[in-house]
């Protein structure tokens, strides 16, 4: 089987067959016509997936640009796929009346803080699990991974009581510790696997030169692991930015709200049930995530899959 010529193998997988023959010539033969029909169907499928994934974003953008009056009138007639008048008033209201900047900053602080703590803690643990001769490493790794499946709501009650007793309710910083349950399992696993693949000779040179283990980690291992650190960092940021349940349970004044919580509370209030305003805030918190995905989609995909599949 190893002797199979590479070309045959390629043609067996429809995925890698490059369109070598110009389309015009291809559909002259019956087989070519069938293949072209398949191609058209395939691209139609791609188009449908694209629409399902992205059109809802367009719809909230559209709604967010409606005025209150248009929103009350509803969709239809002249106020169709494009609102009859575009206005930024919902955005202005969100930032001036509802002070949306404060929750955005709170979210940024918490997500960024979680990322930094996660990277430091996960690098140390990942290095120990990959390189140091600890007993029960397998059990420790299993515990770290299993912790990620612990029911969030089962944490809410006891942590609420703990934070209450410590005077830490309605404070965004304890969220950083809490969010580690989202971020540490994946990051530790990712970094441990990456560290394990680094050639040992690299470290041994430094160790022979008299560097301590920690110095080696900091000056040798981490620099060559920047891609993995970056991946773990992005995923941690996204996971921390996305939390709702803990913020809902532990925060009670609007000046402490994270952005997702602030949007939901605006949305539930009896005087503010306007999707145009809510959707403006939704657009605002989606933008940083969309940018992050566009910049780093390869890292996110490799992080998600390496994190769950490969060794």
């Amino acid at each position: 089987m190893a002797s199979t010529p590479a070309t045959t193998r390629l043609s067996a997988i429809p995925a890698s067959s490059a369109p070598a023959v110009p389309a015009v010539r291809r559909w002259r033969t019956p087989r070519g016509r069938r293949r072209l029909g398949g191609q058209v169907l395939f691209y139609l499928g791609v188009l449908i997936v694209l629409l399902i994934a992205l059109f809802p974003f367009y719809w909230i953008l559209r709604t967010s640009l409606e005025s209150n009056a248009e929103f009350v009138q509803g969709v239809g007639g002249a106020n169709g796929l494009i609102p009859s008048h575009l206005t930024l008033s919902s955005y202005i209201d969100d930032f001036t009346q509802l002070h949306f900047l404060t929750p955005l900053l709170n979210s940024a602080i918490v997500a960024f803080g979680t990322t930094v703590v996660t990277i430091v803690v996960a690098s140390l643990a990942g290095y120990a699990l990959a390189r140091l001769p600890i007993r029960g490493g397998g059990a420790i790794l299993t515990f770290v991974l299993l912790a990620g499946f612990f029911p969030v709501l089962a944490m809410v009650g006891p942590l609420f009581l703990l934070y209450r007793d410590l005077g830490l309710l309605n404070n965004i910083y304890p969220l950083i510790i809490t969010y580690l349950v989202y971020t540490l399992p994946l990051s530790t696993w990712l970094l441990r696997n990456f560290f394990a693949q680094i050639p040992k000779e690299l470290e041994e040179a430094a160790l022979v030169d008299g560097a301590s283990r920690l110095q080696t980690l900091r000056k040798v291992v981490i620099p060559v692991s920047i891609p993995a650190v970056f991946t773990a960092g992005i995923l941690s940021f996204i996971l921390a930015w996305n939390d709702f349940a803990f913020a809902l349970s532990f925060l009670d004044s609007p000046s402490k709200f994270t952005a997702p919580l602030a949007i939901v509370v605006f949305g539930q209030s009896q005087y503010e049930t306007f999707f145009n305003r809510i959707d403006a805030a939704v657009v605002v918190i989606t933008i940083p995530i969309a940018i992050l995905v566009l910049i780093a989609q390869r890292r996110i995909v490799s992080g998600l899959t390496a994190g769950s599949l490969k060794g």
Binding site: M1, T4, R9, L10, A12, A15, S17, A18, G45, V49, A53, L54, P56, W59, I60, T63, E66, V75, G80, A122, L124, A125, A128, L129, R131, L132, P133, G137, F149, F150, P151, V152, L153, A154, M155, G157, P158, L159, L162, T188, N242, L248, P260, L261, I263, G267, F275, I278, V282, I285, T286, I289, A290, L292, V293, L304, T305, L309, K310, G311
Partner: protein
């Protein structure tokens, strides 16, 4: 190449110790190793182990915070018997499991189709991958509110589209009916989570060597046959990972319910996590809430164990 060897390639790596250095250095390294894993382990114990124990204690006591001065005395299994004597809990359990099965099955089928699509090389593949990653990466709050808007009878797209196409149901208030509300919740959930399944399964597909298909083709297998007999079995490890993640997430569904339906209409979309939240933060009953939490943990373990047992590689 046999199924077995591919499966082995995909299986989790064993934890290999480092090569033996000098004995003394090894001892120091071991101590350092424990010191380095300690922060991660202790922090995770704080946020999971501690709640588990505290919930267990609370669940055998009377802990109602709005009852000023009431002693937090031992009540035996009263909180647990209350779980099974109130219709609310049993109904929510059934509903949650129903949602879990339906959403995971639908999402897995869609995710597999999307993974097969992404597995082909075509112009715009990168764009498609980025486009499906955005729904996965945005907060659940975004997907929930976005679909609340989409399903709104006044300002939503769904009823608008049905109206334009002159289809029935263009006046539907989706979140007002039990089954239409569940449909809206499942759509919102799938929109966010199908991409995750697709990405995991795509990675699984990419690990299957091309010569597997070649062998099947030589044996005269049709596309469907080679998919059934080759692709699916070889995807088993990736499927297991996706299923464990998604099934547990679906079982614990909270954000999307809280935001889209608030458990309504009536109590028809109340899930276990939603009941648990209400017990803690509306009723301030941490004993009864603790009992719900313990049941969440136990059922999660049963589900995860079940999936691993069913999906484990057969030898």
């Amino acid at each position: 190449m046999s199924t077995k060897s591919v499966a082995r390639r995909l299986r989790l790596p064993s934890i290999g110790g480092p090569p033996p250095i000098a004995g003394v250095a090894r001892k120091a390294d071991r101590r350092l190793g424990y010191a380095l894993v300690a922060p991660a382990v202790l922090l995770l114990l704080l946020v999971t182990g501690f709640p588990l124990v505290y919930n267990l204690w609370n669940s055998f006591h009377n802990v109602i915070l709005s009852n000023a001065g009431a002693p937090q005395n031992f009540v035996g299994i009263q909180n647990y018997t209350e779980l099974f004597t109130t219709p609310g809990f049993v109904q929510a359990l059934a509903r949650t499991l129903g949602f879990m099965v339906v959403s995971v099955v639908l999402e897995t089928i869609a995710g597999l189709a999307l993974a097969l699509m992404l597995h082909r090389a075509f112009r715009g593949r990168g764009m498609l991958r980025a486009a499906i990653l955005i729904p996965w990466a945005v907060p659940t709050v975004v997907s929930a509110l976005l679909w609340t808007t989409m399903f709104d009878p006044r300002s939503g797209f769904v009823d608008y589209l049905l109206g334009i196409l002159h289809l029935p149901g263009s006046q539907t208030t989706w979140l007002a009916g039990e089954w239409t509300a569940w449909a809206a919740v499942i759509v919102a959930d799938a929109w966010k989570n199908v991409p995750f399944i697709a990405i995991i399964l795509l990675a699984g597909l990419q690990l299957i060597p091309g010569d597997v298909y070649e062998a099947a083709r030589i044996d005269g297998a049709s596309t469907w046959q080679s998919f059934r007999r080759m692709t699916l079995p070889l995807l088993r490890p990736a499927l297991m990972v996706a299923l464990v993640f998604r099934t547990l997430q679906a079982f614990l569904v909270f954000d999307i319910i809280y935001i889209m339906t608030g458990g309504g209409p009536g109590s028809t979309t109340e899930t276990l996590s939603y009941l648990n939240w209400q017990a803690f933060l509306v009723d301030t009953n941490f004993g009864y809430g603790g009992a719900i939490s313990i049941s969440l943990v136990v059922v999660s373990l049963v589900i995860a164990g079940g999936i691993v047992l069913v999906m484990r590689p057969r030898t």
